[in-house]
């Protein structure tokens, strides 16, 4: 079985210790708070529980560039994975935000975060091929695999993405990786929000090498990725001014370091159809994902923000700040909530894994 990756030395001990810890918590009905790099504590609802650290699950277990697959332990710093990939001219195409030093692969997958490239390349869940996790009894489970096409059994690996650790503690994850583009070019247009939404959607319907499109205070920025000759051709088509140091522009946006995000105001994330007209809502807007992800700083009541997103055909998340004791994610309709509770009961019968982090009672 030499093709199946072996966890890096030391990890089996760490896995066993975690299993033992979870089994004990299961027996005692004691809630646990799963902590990787502790960079995303701001996200989700306030949840009590004794901290369990995944830092012992560290290292890249397997990376074969010609297979376009990497397998790493959940506690591996994202930075380390990205460096290993960059060395071989590859990348995580969902461009995950770190939101701080020490962000881990496990936290990234558990939150299901994706960066500016998401609408054009796919999301974190799109790139997950398989994983191992510990359920709420401490049992070690393996779902999916390390190959791109795999329809054996229900897709529980992708179910874990964005589940905020409420269905299991991630042990390791296999991801599809992609070649880094040969060249990138960012172009800027001074336009209104309405015009920006129109252009982002029109361009997305044309065969252009788009890899990001965002709008912040009067300025639409578009990133193109691919062969240098292709970028020149596309540039001629869409026009605009070339942005210098565009790498910083996109990483600042991805990491919420740009000026818009420097605020203690409640930050909402509205996930809406990209063609949704600009929402005239009290507050400030920043548009990403070609119009499909809209950030809103507002003091408006949560119900009003949620209603605006719902009317547009999307949903709103209280992403940062605000009252984290209440629901931060859009409420689920009863039939879906029923399924959520059912799944939780099967994977974590004593409700000890990050209880209440996603929804109260889950």
């Amino acid at each position: 079985m030499n093709a199946v990756s072996q966890p890096p030395t030391g990890c089996s001990g760490a896995i066993a210790a975690l299993q033992e810890r979870i089994a004990r918590a299961h027996a005692q009905g004691e809630p646990l708070r799963i902590v990787g790099g502790d960079t995303k504590a701001f996200y989700g609802r306030d949840a009590a529980g004794e901290a369990v650290f995944t830092g012992g699950l560290k290292g890249i277990a397997a990376y074969e560039p010609s297979e376009l697959v990497i397998t790493a332990m959940a506690g591996t710093p994202l930075e380390e994975i990205e460096a290993a990939l960059a060395e071989r001219g590859q990348m995580l195409a969902f461009e995950p935000p770190h939101y701080g030093a020490g962000a881990t692969l496990g936290g990234t997958v558990a939150c299901g975060f994706s960066g500016p490239r998401r609408p054009y390349a796919g999301s974190a869940r799109d790139f997950v091929l398989g994983l191992r996790c510990l359920n709420g009894k401490g049992e070690l489970l393996r779902f999916g695999g390390q190959v791109m096409k795999n329809v054996a059994g229900y897709d529980i690996s992708r179910l874990m993405v964005g589940a905020l650790g409420t269905l299991g503690v991630l042990v390791d994850v296999s991801l599809k990786v992609l070649p880094r583009p040969e060249a990138e070019l960012t172009l800027a247009h001074e336009v209104t929000a309405a015009e920006a939404i129109d252009r982002m959607n029109r361009w997305a319907g044309q065969p252009l090498p788009l890899s990001a499109a965002a709008y912040d205070t009067g300025c639409l920025t578009v990133r193109l990725s691919g062969a240098a000759a292709a970028l020149d051709a596309a540039r001629a088509g869409i026009g605009g001014d070339v942005v210098a140091d565009a790498g910083d522009h996109w990483s600042d946006l991805r990491e919420h370091r740009s000026a818009f995000f420097q605020s203690d105001e409640c930050l909402w994330r509205l996930s809406v159809p990209p063609t949704t007209p600009h929402l005239h809502f009290p507050g400030e807007w920043l548009l990403d994902w070609g119009g499909a992800q809209r950030w809103l700083k507002t003091t408006a009541a949560p119900e009003e923000v949620r209603a605006a997103a719902r009317v547009a055909g999307g949903h709103a998340t209280m992403f940062r700040h605000g009252d984290r004791g209440q629901e931060v994610f859009a409420p689920l309709p009863p039939p879906l909530l029923h399924v959520h509770h059912g799944l939780k009961a099967q994977f974590d019968p004593m409700r000890i894994l990050n209880p209440g982090r996603m929804y109260a009672g889950l």
Binding site: M148, D155, P207, A230, A234, P335, L336, H340, G342, Q346
Partner: protein
């Protein structure tokens, strides 16, 4: 009702009851209970397995589907959903005591939004019909299973269908935004959204590949992509499988993501050439077909690079399609590979494992050994880009024991795929066909969790029962057959 004497009569008695109850909630002509009329539904694309259902229903409205489901739920009658019936794993094989729910009449494209690049379709809409409708707007639906002329989108979601362009454009799960489905008790589940994500668990991913066991897919919103302005195909011939395999790794290592990357071995190449005269070199041990697409400048830059890589890996012959007609001709051979192999033997059995690409030469050598051991020839067609291997085992169903031998041979190949780090099914699904191999790929705990997920949606196990996930008892009984790596599977289970 006549006196009941034994199971058969009881079944028939209940059947009449069920049929009248269904007739009461469905319009005339939507209930088919005559044996001859039900014949076309007794199997899907895996015709070695046949079973007549108790009754076939063909509702026209969602309300009628709800009524059927509620009725079956109340009476604890199994329901098997069927789209175009092209499954290659028996996913739509009827249940002898159950209702076969045909969704063929749900064949309308409900909405096509060129600006938002989405289409909302009913489950019975054919895969290719979506791209045909979108073409006027310069858009298309990317996943293209080889049955795309016939297969329908509901089945594509249920099986998470692939195609030849998966490496670059993903599977069905990567191209669907939203699914509206009915549970066995007739309740609507609205999963996903018109946006790029939805709150809560990723139930959209869970629905993909769930083989009709969790809910009935009633409406699908797919993402449409701009049609690439340029596509180029290059054909390369190799004197050995190893060289061809290394060339594939070389292309990927050069930072190129081909739209399609297909390999065929000598037997498959010859069969295809004899059949459609695509101009394939028949003296090669393997041929590679590499398609590049995108904007013209990108495609020409990549084409140059691919040629260099292929030459560096000892390609004996290289041919670049000079025009669209030649591009189609080069693809025609690959697309006709299955029927071409079908001309070489009375029957063939298509296997669907996925392996890490670097294991290809090893796996093909082992398949050649097995071919000699079983005395059955095999042609290999390989989605080289994503590691999905389709060995086509040739046999004659009229010779006693040959089908069983072909199935055992196929089973051995799938177990080999698992051993080298792959999976028992890349894109055809488990269905009824690969239940035994699921016991090799998964341990008892994982299987228990699959059953648990099923119970959350369908507590009485009425939707497509007996498919996709084997019972633990079945795996234990098979235990002796599936010892690998010196370890017994499920050491924690009792043996008998």
């Amino acid at each position: 009702m006549a006196t009941m004497q034994g199971g058969r009569h009881t079944r028939d008695g209940n059947r009449t009851d069920l049929v009248s109850a269904l007739r009461a909630v469905l319009p005339a002509g939507a209930v088919i209970a005559e044996e001859e009329a039900m014949r076309p539904y007794e199997c899907d694309g895996l015709s070695a397995y046949r079973q007549l259902p108790r009754v076939v229903v063909m509702p026209r409205t969602a309300e009628q589907v709800q009524a059927v489901l509620r009725l079956c739920h109340g009476r604890r009658v199994p329901v098997v959903a069927r789209g175009a019936g092209t499954s290659l794993s028996g996913g739509a094989l009827p249940h002898r005591n159950g209702v076969l729910l045909s969704l063929a009449r749900f064949n309308r494209i409900l909405d096509l939004d060129p600006f938002g690049r989405t289409a909302v379709v009913e489950p019975g809409v054919r895969n290719l019909a979506i791209s045909e409708a979108a073409a006027a707007h310069g858009l298309y639906y990317a996943p293209d299973p080889s049955s795309q002329i016939a297969c329908s989108i509901g089945g594509n979601v249920a099986e998470n269908s692939g195609g030849v362009h998966c490496l670059k454009y993903g599977l069905t799960v990567h191209n669907v935004l939203r699914v509206r489905a009915l549970t066995i008790d007739g309740e609507w589940l609205d999963i996903g959204s018109q946006a790029l994500d939805a709150p809560g668990y990723d139930l959209l991913a869970l629905m993909h590949g769930s083989e009709g066991m969790l809910a009935i897919i009633m409406e699908v919103t797919v993402r449409l992509l701009p049609i690439p302005t340029s596509a180029q195909v290059v054909l390369a011939a190799f004197a050995s499988i190893e060289d061809a395999g290394n060339a594939v790794a070389g292309i990927i290592a050069a930072g190129i993501l081909p739209a399609g990357l297909e390999m065929m071995d000598r037997l498959a190449t010859r069969a295809a050439e004899d059949f459609v005269h695509a101009g394939y070199p028949t003296d090669a041990e393997a041929i590679l077909i590499c398609e590049l697409d995108g904007v013209p400048a990108e495609v020409s830059a990549q084409l140059q690079r691919v040629r260099e890589v292929l030459q560096a890996h000892r390609a004996m012959a290289l041919r670049v399609a000079v025009d669209e007609a030649e591009r189609r001709q080069l693809w025609a051979g690959r697309k006709a590979a299955f029927p071409a192999v079908g001309r070489l033997a009375p029957d063939y059995y298509c296997v669907d494992g996925t392996i890490p690409r670097h294991q290809l030469a090893h796996v093909l050598r082992r398949i050649a050994d097995l071919s000699r051991e079983y005395g059955l020839p095999v042609a290999n067609v390989f989605h080289a880009g994503d590691g999905n291997l389709h060995p086509l085992i040739m046999y004659d169903a009229n010779r006693p024991g040959e089908l069983a031998r072909a199935e055992r041979f196929g089973g051995d190949i799938l177990e080999l795929s698992v051993r080298v780090g792959g999976t028992v099914t890349g894109e055809h699904g488990v269905g009824v066909e690969k239940l035994d191999q699921m016991c090799v790929q998964f341990g008892a705990l994982e299987l228990q969790h699959f059953h648990a997920v099923k119970r959350v949606f369908d507590s009485f196990g009425l939707l497509n029962p007996g498919k996709a996930v084997p019972t633990l008892a079945r795996c234990v009984e098979l235990g002796g057959m599936h010892v690998h790596g010196g370890e017994l599977p499920h050491p924690d289970l009792p043996r008998f």
